[in-house]
Amino acid sequence: MLVHSRGGRWATWIVFFVLFLPLFALPLLVVVAASFATNWSGAFPSGFTTGHYDAATTGDSLQALTTSLATALTASVLALTVGAWAALAAASLKERGKQAMDALFVLPVAVPSVVVGLAILVAFSKPPFLLNGTRWIVILAHTVLVTAFAYQSVSAAILRLDPMYEQAAASLGARPSYVLWRVRLPLLLPSLNAAAGLCFALSMGELSATMMLYPPDWTPLPVQIFAATDRGSLFTGAAVAVVLMGTTLLVLLAVSRIRTKASYR
């Protein structure tokens, strides 16, 4: 801590709690509170029930949860593969080419995701690229959106990777492909790991592009939450939201527990 006096430290903590706690933590607590309530007319919710969770973990909502998990897992794996590949390729390009690649992969982040959704809808609604109405158009949109983040985090990691390791490997007679699989990728593993978690979390929460694309038999959880609150079932929506939040956090926790040998460096 940079603040040394006791009084200064207290003041800093108070500012932190007053400014940041209401912004970051309290809204989430409110959702949790709402998910257990039957009624909310005063300052606090009233009536306690776990009934909303019965609805949130069965039927359509359960279906939506598995849909979201399947979409997020597929999209993350695809995004990580494509993003890491592109980042490795970009690293071997000259300055110009690398800038072009960086620009290409920042597009899905820079462009509003609703626009990306619309673009994919228009592009894949006619044969021979007819994906509209299938689950694949949702997975495709998620992949495009999260690949940008995978590319950026892997790019940053490659930049930090000391070239002396690949040079040492090359001096020992290792072909470039051998160096990639035995040295570079293992050393990048911690970053790939982190990128996977980021992609998964982003995909689990994606709503705006999904809204434009999802077919009736492939409704991800955020759409379910939106639909529930839209028709006035706020408490059910809150319960589904808590399920979404809990599942995402659990998966992220699991991913963060994966330690690689390289992360002990």
Partner: protein, 350 residues
């Protein structure tokens, strides 16, 4: 038996020449030190042999084969760098086995034996199961050397291998490297260093580099006793360089006549007289120089005196003095005629 030959090798980064037409031959089995200050081009020369920089012009030969256009992994070299570059995700044994596996040099069953042999040679056999992060700097350096030797390269490139070690470890490793070279007499070693002690101790020959150019090349004794350029004289052994005028049979330094061999330089010309500080004595004698003490440094077994003679600080390393002279004291220095080397001014410093 494999040697290295640089044939007019130049390297430039964005119009900035970092290595200027280097011609140098490392004989098979020879230890050649590339000695120079930072930015002298010595590491660039080594990287040109390894294949990590591409010469703008000139050719590099390893064992008579032109490798200029070959990628690093096809050059058959071993390399050890200052920061060791051990793979952090592999155990010591896997690090050492890396080259053997990557090149499929030996049958699977023989890898363990070759790894054990290389680790034995560097005294690291007991650490095979450790990860690099569990080793000290000196131990990591030994593993890096074992890794390079496991593939039995004809050429070993060492890039400031001891710079990251503390002084005591460094002298130990110097002894080790000398022993390794005795055990592997066929391996040619190119040893990049800025440390003259390392170069003088290990090398069969030293190539002195400065500002992208090769300035001098010869055995350590030649360079030390008979330097050919001012740069060599001052960089190797930190010699006194006195500006003198050549007269028939002697040279004059300020108003003092000094009797040294003058055949190499024309009478009347300006020249530089090079005398090693440890060959300068305190007290009266031949070639006496009178001056005032401007600085005294105690170095344990010796005293380093700086004596102001005709506006020049002359360095003298003398055996530890019982009574340290005071600053400003007037003293006389002397040196034997045969200990001085006369360099015609500006030779080799273009």
């Amino acid at each position: 038996m494999t040697g290295i030959r640089f044939d007019g090798v130049s390297v430039a980064y964005g119009g900035n020449t970092v290595l200027d037409s280097l011609d140098l031959t490392v004989e098979p089995g020879e230890v050649m030190a590339l000695l120079g200050p930072s930015g002298s081009g010595k590491t660039t020369a080594l990287r040109a042999v390894a294949g990590f920089v591409r010469p703008a012009s000139g050719r590099v030969f390893i064992g008579g084969r032109d490798v200029t256009a070959l990628p690093p992994h096809r050059r058959g070299i071993g390399m050890v760098v200052q920061q060791y570059a051990l793979f952090p995700h592999m155990r010591v044994a896997d690090n050492v086995a890396f080259g053997l596996k990557a090149q499929k040099l030996v049958a699977k069953g023989e890898i363990a034996g070759r790894v054990a042999e290389a680790l034995e040679m560097t005294g690291m056999a007991a650490y095979a199961r450790r990860y690099p992060r569990e080793l000290s700097g000196g131990q990591q350096q030994r593993v890096a050397i074992a890794r390079a030797l496991a593939i039995r390269p004809g050429v070993l490139l060492l890039d400031e291998p001891l710079s990251a070690l503390d002084a005591q470890l460094r002298s130990g490793m110097l002894t080790e490297l000398a022993r390794l070279h005795r055990e592997l007499p066929d391996v040619s070693i190119l040893y990049v260093t800025h440390d003259q002690v390392e170069a003088l101790t290990l090398a069969d020959r030293i190539a002195v580099m400065d500002r992208a150019r090769l300035r001098d090349c010869g055995t350590p004794q030649e360079l030390y006793r008979r330097p050919r350029t001012e740069f060599t004289a001052s960089f190797v052994g930190n010699a006194n360089l006195l500006p003198v005028r050549v007269e028939p049979g002697y040279v004059s330094f300020g108003g003092t006549a000094l009797a040294v061999a003058t055949e190499s330089v024309a009478v009347g010309a300006s020249a530089t007289l090079c005398v090693r500080p440890h060959l300068v004595g305190l007290g009266d004698g031949p070639n006496a120089l009178r001056g005032r003490i401007s600085e005294v440094q105690w170095r344990g077994s010796t005293h380093r005196l700086y004596v102001e003679v005709d506006g020049h600080a002359v360095k003298a390393d003398v055996r530890e003095l019982r009574e340290t002279p005071a600053l400003g004291d007037e003293v006389t220095l002397h040196f034997a005629s045969e200990d001085a080397v006369l360099l015609s001014a500006g030779v080799g410093d273009g």
